[in-house]
Amino acid sequence: MSDPAVTHSPPAEPQLPGLEGFVSDWSSDRTAFKTASWGKAMIWIFLLSDTFIFSCFLLSYMTVRMSTEAAWPNPSEVFALEIFGVHIPLILIAIMTFVLISSSGTMAMAVNYGYRRDRKKTAILMLVTAAFGATFVGMQAFEWTKLISEGVRPWENPWGAPQFGSVFFMITGFHGTHVTIGVIFLLIIARKVWRGDFDTEKKGFFTSRKGRYEIVEITGLYWHFVDLVWVFIFALFYLW
């Protein structure tokens, strides 16, 4: 490597556009993603790994749906509700989906206000997001209770293939756990935003790192991911 010596304070270089920029970023020193902080790089890589987990769950679901001998129950019927005497298929799931997608909207707004250092609006929007999330989990709990009372168990159900219940509890349970963790995170971060920890750069209790508004965005990325996964679960499990 015969390049000339690197000086101690090299000139700041403008970022190049397009493929050229990609190549120059990846062949540069220090960082490969010039605009991503450590925290953001970490959450993206975590989400990539988590994508593989959900993909494995969904692919396994499709496989057992093919391997099982008994007929697969019709989700539209199983998840239908009688509301004021009207029989509406999938209504609860539709509402849940709507709630979760809306929460992505409020989350995006919270991130925006966070970077503007608007403490109050950020905290409130995060709490609204958390409330949407909690509503989602609550409706999921309702759905679980309803199916359990109708005799659905992980190992059997009244309508057909036993794998229906297994997959239902496993996948919605795993996704619901993600949402619950997200809600807890939102509450913790919202509290810190409210207290102004990120304005004073208060150090984390465990990590002794300075607090930054960026953590709002990191939480947001996780939250959007959990929403996106739900769209796939909705399409592949409920609509199929």
Partner: protein, 589 residues
Amino acid sequence: MVDATHGPDAHAAEFPDVELYHPRSWWTRYVFSQDAKVIAIQYASTALAIGMVALVLSWLMRMQLAFPGFLEFIDAAAYYQFITMHGMIMVIYLITALFLGGFGNYQIPLMLGARDMVFPYVNMLSYWTYLLAVLVLVASWFAPGGPTGAGWTLYPPQAILSNTPGQEAGIVLMLVSLILFVIGFTMGGLNYIVTVLQGRTRGMTLMRMPLTVWGIFVATVMAMLAFPALFVACVMMLFDKLLGTSFFMPAVAEMGVQLAHNGGSPILFQHLFWFFGHPEVYIVALPAFGIVSDLLATHARKNIFGYRMMVWAIVIIGALSFVVWAHHMYVSGMNPYFGFFFATTTLIIAVPTAIKVYNWVLTLWRGDIHLNPPMLFALAFIVTFVNGGLTGLFLGNVVVDVPLSDSMFVVAHFHMVMGVAQILVIFGAIYHWYPKITGRMLDNTLAHLHFWVTFVGAYLIFFPMHYLGLMGVPRRYFESGDISFQPPSAHELNVFITVMALTVGAAQLVFVFNLIWSIRHGKPAGGNPWRATTLEWQTPQTPPAHGNFGRELPVVYRWAYDYSVPGAPEDFIPQNQPGPTPPHHEGSE
């Protein structure tokens, strides 16, 4: 080479030195430490300790195969438990943990000129979760029924049926332990990846990273994508076992009784397991490739031959290893076109792998080879890996694999390619970096004794197994009894293998003794005993202090392989030495 003079950007300077966690007490300094070096030592010690258990298990198995009935406590059930725990511990809890958690933690920040991993707190949690996973695994010996005897592949349906040993609690603890391992690894893996991508020092471009870091980095990326399949398989099998679901369980009758399971797919488990399992082979191989490259260059005083080719070979091997998994399932039956596909991809991987071997040999060519312990182990690795790779070419072909499958030939193959080869690199790496970690050299005589007994012994153990396999001696058999196709010589060979296995095992005690004894009594090593170029040898203190590099981080001016540069005052130029490389240097690009 693209120039390395990119400006410092806002984010790299984001966490200045003061943000390092500074321990305030003995507990946070040595036990709940957030320093990657301490975490590395914790990972490595735990892995070596549990690895000793796996070693003892291999002795017991060998005793049973050579002298059936001599050790009375080994019945068929115990034998299967030993096999299972031996295989799983060796592959996951020893080699994976040691390469990534141990060497990864120690080398990545030091070699890249970083103060620490990017998220030290998460890094610490990673180790404690790993320890918990190990403890859960160990607990299965004390649980009713003992550890599981399902084989390290844990194939359903037998893994959870009642005639498999350890089906009361052992299998559950095994699955829980694996799930914990994946969670713990993920926390560490995020650190290794982000540190490599975003935490390098000034002047350290990706294409100036030592190959050790490249190997560990690509292996970690692979692990982050392969472990999810294991995680999901474990969760679903746990449900099959505890809740009576039928993900993997078809309709089964056991002892004439129809079980409640029905409609699941055992083949699904095999796909998930091997989607993890094959990349796992390379997750332990790529760090070894990287480390060996650095050992060879340093101890032959030569620049590594074809650095860029080596990097791309690592990346390509990593990518290809995700599309070959079903070569482990030829005997499970599959569409012939799939067999064709997977055999083809398997053989294609041989190309980048062979390139690496050629480059190692060319690195040695006309080098100033110092036959010290790290170099000996590195050479032994090349020989062993080539050996295992060649038998791999046999097994990659469907028609050859089908008769050899589940025979001792397979046992010989995978021990060569992913057992012995990797362990040899681990030893070489320990002899190489121990002086940096402790400040003292390991004893050279004991090291040579350890090397020769281990290397020759390992060949004497595993080479005859190829032959046994070709004769048709099956794998995973507790006792062969009188089988007409096995000549008496097969049994004599078994006795010989066992004696060798015990000898090699004893040699490991020499190694452990050397490790402990030299901490106090070894020759002081100084900062850079091997006169190596990479940054970990340029630290102001040895062992490196908290924060690694004193007040100022090093700045990197060159690649990691400036050895024997013509015209240079010494026969090596450290990566952080300014100034151009003297002219007429072949190694410069």
